[in-house]
């Protein structure tokens, strides 16, 4: 489903930072992969490269077999299949919750008003804020906003969902409600954990292996700091 081959990403502004260095990874359909690592290790950049919000400088990224770094690829088609949830929600503040969720369905998927509405209602029920459809985002709590953001991404019926630190901007008491929604989408436990540091994948494996018997020294150091 996702096949990343030897990508490099270097930022030059405001100064040169090698955000990703020769990163390769593959994710199968249905797999839940968690990327962890200290801040600045390239987790977000890797995620953002997957829907080309950032363009990798080198290497290849295949999404569902399509080379997204190829100039001829219609990136908007690929992005419609890759949902993304941001750390800061990024809901559209001038649109109601309902309109936030129906907008892309209508302009990108060309669904009818009724169809988009029905889809939105089903998803809002799933994320537990069905009663807020006509409210503007700034009247919602952070947790509610993030659940709307998840519903907005899901409404496109994407094949892949990317979550970029979806709970890090939330108060502790709101993290639970967002995590509950995410658990409904996937199993509680990740199939695989990838540890990144300084733009590279240092170690990857099953959660059991990773948290109990890490091999790499940097992984051990990181885990000893957070656990």
């Amino acid at each position: 489903m996702i096949d990343v081959r030897n990508i490099h990403k270097t930022f030059y502004v405001p100064h040169k930072v090698r955000a990703l260095v020769d990163v390769s990874a593959a994710v199968r359909a249905g797999e839940v992969v968690v990327v962890i690592g200290p801040s600045g290790s390239g987790k977000s950049t890797l995620l953002r490269c997957l829907n080309r919000l950032e363009t990798a400088n080198q290497g290849h990224i295949y999404i569902d077999g399509i080379d997204i770094l190829d100039k001829k690829t219609d990136i908007n088609k690929v992005r419609a299949e890759v949902g993304m949830v941001f750390q800061s929600f990024n809901l559209f503040p001038h649109k109601t919750v309902l309109d936030n969720i129906t907008l892309a369905q209508r302009v990108v998927r060309r669904r009818s008003r009724e169809e988009a509405h029905a889809k939105a209602m089903a998803l809002l029920e799933k994320v537990g804020i069905k009663d807020k459809i006509n409210v503007y985002p700034d009247q919602l709590s952070g947790g509610q906003q993030q659940r709307v953001a998840i519903a907005r991404a899901l409404a496109m019926e994407p094949k892949i969902m990317l979550f970029d630190e979806p709970t890090s901007a939330l108060d502790p008491e709101m993290i639970g409600e967002v995590l509950d929604v995410m658990k409904k989408l996937a199993r509680e436990v990740a199939d695989r954990v990838i540890f990144m540091d300084e733009g590279q994948i240092v170690e990857e494996g099953t959660p059991e292996h990773f948290f109990i018997n890490p091999i790499n020294e940097r992984t051990k150091l990181f885990l000893s700091q957070i656990l």
């Binding site: 908007n76 088609k77 992005r79 993304m84 941001f86 559209f92 503040p93 001038h94 892309a104 990108v108």
Partner: protein
């Protein structure tokens, strides 16, 4: 938010009334001082002369210009005409709405009144005001279109678009409007009208060069306002829209511009108020807008003080209305 809709009686401090009084006193001093000064130079205020330049009740007259006899009074399809037959010439005078002053068989001499009626006519100031309004509104509309296109092009990563926009903005903002009006009229105007004449097509009237100059001038400033407005929208909005598969135009139309639009209304209002005032420069290319009209009236009226004040007040009325209109629009957008 709700507190503002509640009726609150504000208790003012005594010093508030003191300073309000000082303000009124200052105002009276300025107006009174000005008035006393005009008395000092024996200026005679003639406000009664002003209304005629807004509307006048004018006599419309039809006069003969040959000597002869009224041969016939014809009525065809509701239009009346007087036929005057001279010794070896004949003239037909259309009467229009005027009442006849002659009958068949009357002898008339050149200059004799054939028919007359009184009519309310807009005065020169009214016409000037109307022209100012017309020129400003058209220029504002074009300015918005030019400004939005240029503002978006300015943010493009395509060098052709970006540099074209930058060059345009810098050229316009870097030279005086007066000079630009001259260039529009005397350079572009001459070129275009000469070329059109060579092709045997009609001429473009001066007013369109005036509109062109104002629109391109305002467009450059609007472009910068639009650019700033778009840039003020957080990058996450674009990313969210694009991550959902929207293309650049869908993202702009549905997500960025609606948000940017609310923020740019106040600076746009300022720009358009400037444009209305700048239209006063168009007098130099023989467009009789409000200022030019006032200047013409002043030369014949013997009331320059009154007229220039009236002129200023008329501009104020236009700009104030526009300002109110945009404030209303802004509030409407904030509510929705």
């Amino acid at each position: 938010m709700d507190a503002s809709s509640e009726l609150v009686r504000i208790r003012r401090e005594p010093s508030f009334y003191l300073w309000a009084g000082v303000f009124l006193l200052l105002l009276a001093a300025v107006v009174g001082g000005l008035y006393l000064a005009t008395l000092e130079i024996d200026y005679v205020w003639r406000w009664y002369r002003v209304p005629q330049y807004f509307v006048s009740h004018r006599q419309i007259e039809v006069r003969a210009d040959i000597k002869g006899e009224v041969d016939a009074i014809r009525t065809e399809g509701g239009a009346t005409a007087v036929v005057v037959k001279g010794r070896d010439e004949e003239a037909v005078y259309a009467v229009g709405k005027s009442a006849l002053k002659v009958a068949k068989g009357d002898t008339v001499y050149p200059g004799d009144l054939l028919a007359a009626h009184a009519e309310w006519q807009p005065g020169i100031l009214m016409e000037g005001l109307w022209l100012t309004l017309k020129v400003s509104v058209i220029a504002i509309l074009f300015g918005i279109v030019i400004g939005f296109i240029t503002g978006i092009a300015r943010l493009s990563s395509n060098p052709a678009l970006k540099w074209t926009a930058m060059t345009y903005i810098e050229l316009i903002r870097g030279s005086p409007l007066l000079v630009q009006i001259m260039i529009w009229y005397f350079v572009l105007g001459t070129l275009i009208n000469t070329l059109l004449a060579q092709q045997g097509i009609g001429q473009v009237p001066a007013i369109w060069f005036g509109v062109g100059s104002l629109a391109t001038f305002a467009g450059a400033y609007v472009a910068e306002i639009v650019r700033a407005g778009i840039q003020s929208i957080h990058r996450g909005q674009t990313e969210a829209a694009r991550s959902l598969g929207m293309n650049y135009f869908q993202c702009m139309r549905c997500v960025i511009l609606p948000q940017a639009f609310r923020r740019i209304i106040p600076p746009l209002a300022g720009q358009f108020i400037s444009l209305i005032k700048d239209s006063s420069l168009l007098g130099i290319i023989a467009i009789r807008e409000l200022t030019k009209a006032t200047r013409e009236v002043v030369t014949t009226s013997l009331a320059p003080f009154e007229l220039w004040f009236i002129c200023a007040v008329l501009y104020l009325a236009l700009t104030f209305t526009l300002s109110m209109l945009l404030q209303y629009l802004e509030r409407r957008l904030l509510v929705s």
